[in-house]
Amino acid sequence: MSTSPDLSVKIHDLNLKNPVLTASGTFGYGHEYSDFIEVDALGGIIVKATTSKHREGNPYPRMAETAMGMLNAVGLQNKGIDHFVRHIYPTLEKYNTNVIANVSDSTVEGYVEVAEKMNKLSHIAAIELNISCPNVKEGGMAFGTSCPSAIAVTSAVREVYDKTLIVKLSPNVTSIVEIALAVEEAGADALSLINTLLGMAIDSETRKPVLSTITGGLSGPAIKPIALRMVWQVANAVKIPVIGIGGISSAADAIEFMLAGATAIQVGTANFIDPSVTIKIIQGIKEYMLKHRLSKLSQLTGKLVY
């Protein structure tokens, strides 16, 4: 028998005990899952988006089930950064794993305000910039869909944020590699991808859109092949670490993303189907490493055989 494999990975200054993180907006603030799993066993948790101001989010209905996935239109519902610092952050200090904050807003100033305040919180190990948000000054076009606005928000946040800065990319673009390179150049320490794909659902009986916002973000196994392709393209183009996201529901899925070039992965929608799936994925990666006689995960990341 070989010794226990080492599952730890490093994302810039972040040391993860294993590569399994939870995706923002699907894992609440962690306590929602604490009856089902030991949250500290995860590589880290990425808590739901925080914006500069309180946001009520979109009206109901916010969800539509689709073939092997779902559409959501939650609309960044959260109580804003000041409430986060005062009331939510104290509940996160108990975790003995990495807590990463997902930062969103509709203006560059808003992102900067949230990032500055997060920078002062010692137990927030890193931030993940969600640049798939509509930019109010650019007529609602998402920051992450054009290079200039992606650069603007990344470099402005880089100025005020000292710890690990992850930028989360939107797949709703013509070339994700261009955006990835632009964001790397602007100072990102790591990239995570993909966010949800823009989609739509219609009820043929009522002839109405299912979601209150008409369109929404698609997630779940349905998006995995697209996510895998994008992770592979981006990981081959940038020098900074890439975190793979999109439909991951098993250890095999996680390993596929690592072979495509991901250093770590995030599990999102799959948590809804099995709240203990993350623990099974960690266990499955360990078993895979034993079976394939791997001692560390760097022997896996980007090691796709052509």
Binding site: N58, P59, A73, P134, G216, I273
Partner: protein
């Protein structure tokens, strides 16, 4: 109450009428304590159309026999698959989820159920009658075949029925039944579960009479545990998760349900 993820054994599956099944479940392990109004998120096996879990109210829970029941109405692929479950099969559930009804004691209570809305009311009626309440159960449906479990409900109190075609009980909508449409309402509290329109109408009647009305909402859900924020309802304190802060709400808390004006929040074209 700790939430659990369990594989439950199907003890029996009884067809009640063309579209309703009563499924009894048990486990080798002790089931967690549950209260009326709480629900379970059920995984439907081997169905590509049913990726997400399906929420169902706890219809009955018996601590002594360590068993519980779900009452399921067939409306789509998930419920169709569950309606074919056989004795000896297992299903995976997350439970108990949500907050239940506020249980009155030694009061006069009215339970109003329409269609599959009687699902949580069985467990509720049982617990209310144990607490020394005088229980009246009003069940509504389109026709006699829709009125389920009348005999069982009689164990807990008085049963009144209304059908739209007059084949059982009083003819008309549940809200037209003489118990709630005529004279002064003789109840301290109303509990209601059924289609949205029916619950709003009952809540309106209760409000006019100055009686507290608790309603059980059936918003579509993804996680069932407060993590995704998909299931929200607009309340006087803003959007609230039906899965964790409900599914039972005092109707006065719900925006647009009673006198308060309906205010819709601005559309935000961002997907999350």
């Amino acid at each position: 109450m700790k939430k659990q993820l369990l594989d439950l054994n199907v003890v029996s599956n009884t067809r009640l009428n063309a579209s309703h099944h009563l499924i009894e479940l048990s486990s080798e392990f002790p089931l967690p304590a549950m209260i009326p109004g709480q629900f379970a998120e059920v995984k439907v096996k081997n169905q590509s159309e049913t990726y997400l879990r399906r929420p169902f109210s706890i219809h009955r829970f018996d601590h002594a026999t360590n068993s519980m029941h779900l009452l399921i109405k067939t409306v789509g692929p998930g419920t169709t698959a569950l309606s074919t479950l056989k004795k000896g099969e297992t299903i995976n559930v997350m439970l108990p989820l949500g907050k239940g009804f506020a249980l009155a004691s030694k009061s006069k209570v009215l339970l109003v159920g329409g269609g599959c809305g009687i699902a949580p009311l069985y467990f509720l009626a049982e617990q209310l009658s144990k607490r020394g309440n005088e229980v009246t159960i009003l069940i509504g449906g389109r026709s006699a075949a829709d009125i389920l479990l009348q005999k069982e409900y009689r164990n807990f109190g008085r049963v009144a029925v209304s059908t739209e075609d007059g084949t059982d009980g009083e003819k008309g909508m549940v809200t037209q039944h003489s118990i709630i449409s005529k004279g002064k309402l003789q109840f301290d509290r109303i509990y209601c579960c059924g289609p949205d329109g029916m619950m709003r109408a009952v809540a309106h009647i209760a409000e006019k009479a100055g009686i507290i009305c608790e309603v059980s909402l059936e918003n579509t859900m993804a996680c069932g545990i407060g993590a995704c924020l998909c299931c929200v309802v607009e309340t006087n304190q803003g959007n609230r998760c039906v899965c964790t802060e409900g599914p039972v709400f005092d109707s006065r808390e719900l925006k647009g349900w009673t006198k308060g004006k309906e205010v819709s929040c601005t559309l935000d074209n961002n997907s999350q």
